[in-house]
Symmetry: C2
Subunit: 168 residues, 2 copies
DNA sequence: CGGAAATCATCTACCGTCAAACAATCTCTC
DNA sequence: GAGAGATTGTTTGACGGTAGATGATTTCCG
């Protein structure tokens, strides 16, 4: 650990840059802390997407719920929580909002009266279609710094971290 | 958007798996939502690291502060906040804790009495050395699913997302 | 010089997430 | 059957991060 000079040499606030090393430390940090690079990248991507989706009627989580319901059919909140990696207690409010907006219905599971059967309504299917259509350009913008190949590579590597078997 | 059957076909909770498609939806989701894949990967990596570092005296943020001070010398909290991408108001508590532990000192900047000059103490340098030594195996474990090449690629791609110029 | 605008550190209020506890219900074992 | 233990949905409280306002100070510009 080769230390920098211990004497306090502060950049004088008026003078622009003294070497510039201090101003670019983030670049050095991301070199040997992949966790920090990953975390900060997630933050900027999420922020970019949230900005682009600011006027949207659906939350990202609500969109994901409708998307999963469309893909696999009616689900219990438990199944939604597990697959979408959204906490059960958060899923409650998420489904509440979707139900209030008339996009899903909460029916009782016929064989397990603990669980609900969350089912999309026709309005929900329409809202999902709109959200899906709006999503592609938003993702393209959020990942604009990457080529399509790089974006696919990023997905492949994050899926390995998530222990998801590689795609067919 | 090819829809699944609209009729509510719920998995009976006792029966193990009905097709298994519902149980593996997360894999399908990460295919066309790179943002979700990235976000969830960050969560599992952060959780793994936090678990490994549970007995540690330093927070990740505190470690980063000491690391940057060691690399570039005394800094104002503002500079620390900017480079480490940690909010100013969070940095206050972070430096508070380090100061209470005797790992940094808060001196006044000689030319700008608004700013502090956060300076590491000898104890701080020792704590950083310990933390750095403990970090390597923790990172290796958190990224064990990736080969060294893949890990380097992940860093390269996240750095592009962060708009950091490529390494020399 | 002298006021306007910007900056640094700080505090407070707010939002989203997570862990734990709870009631209702189901499954399993005897 | 009957009771123990697990599961589903929900609520509650704590925690971490973020935005906005504030006081002290500095810089800018006429």
């Amino acid at each position: 650990m080769a230390s920098a000079p211990r004497t306090a040499r502060l950049a004088s606030p008026s003078r622009a840059d003294d070497g510039g090393e201090r101003r670019r430390y983030f670049a050095a940090l991301t070199q040997d802390r992949p966790d920090v690079a990953l975390c900060r990248a997630t933050t900027v991507v999420a922020r970019t997407i949230d900005e682009q989706l600011s006027g949207n009627p659906l939350t990202v989580a609500q969109h994901l719920v409708l998307k999963m319901l469309d893909a696999v059919g009616s689900c219990s909140q438990q199944e939604l929580s597990e697959q979408l990696r959204i906490d059960r207690s958060v899923m409650v409010g998420c489904v509440d909002a979707l139900e209030d907006a008339g996009l899903v219905r909460r029916e009782r599971h016929p064989r397990d009266r603990r669980a609900y059967a969350v089912t999309p309504t026709p309005d929900g299917a329409a809202a999902l279609a709109d959200a899906e259509r709006a999503m592609a350009p938003v993702l393209d913008h959020a990942f604009a710094a990457l080529t399509p190949d790089e974006r696919a590579t990023l997905v492949r590597l994050t899926r390995k971290l998530l222990d998801v078997p590689p795609a067919d």
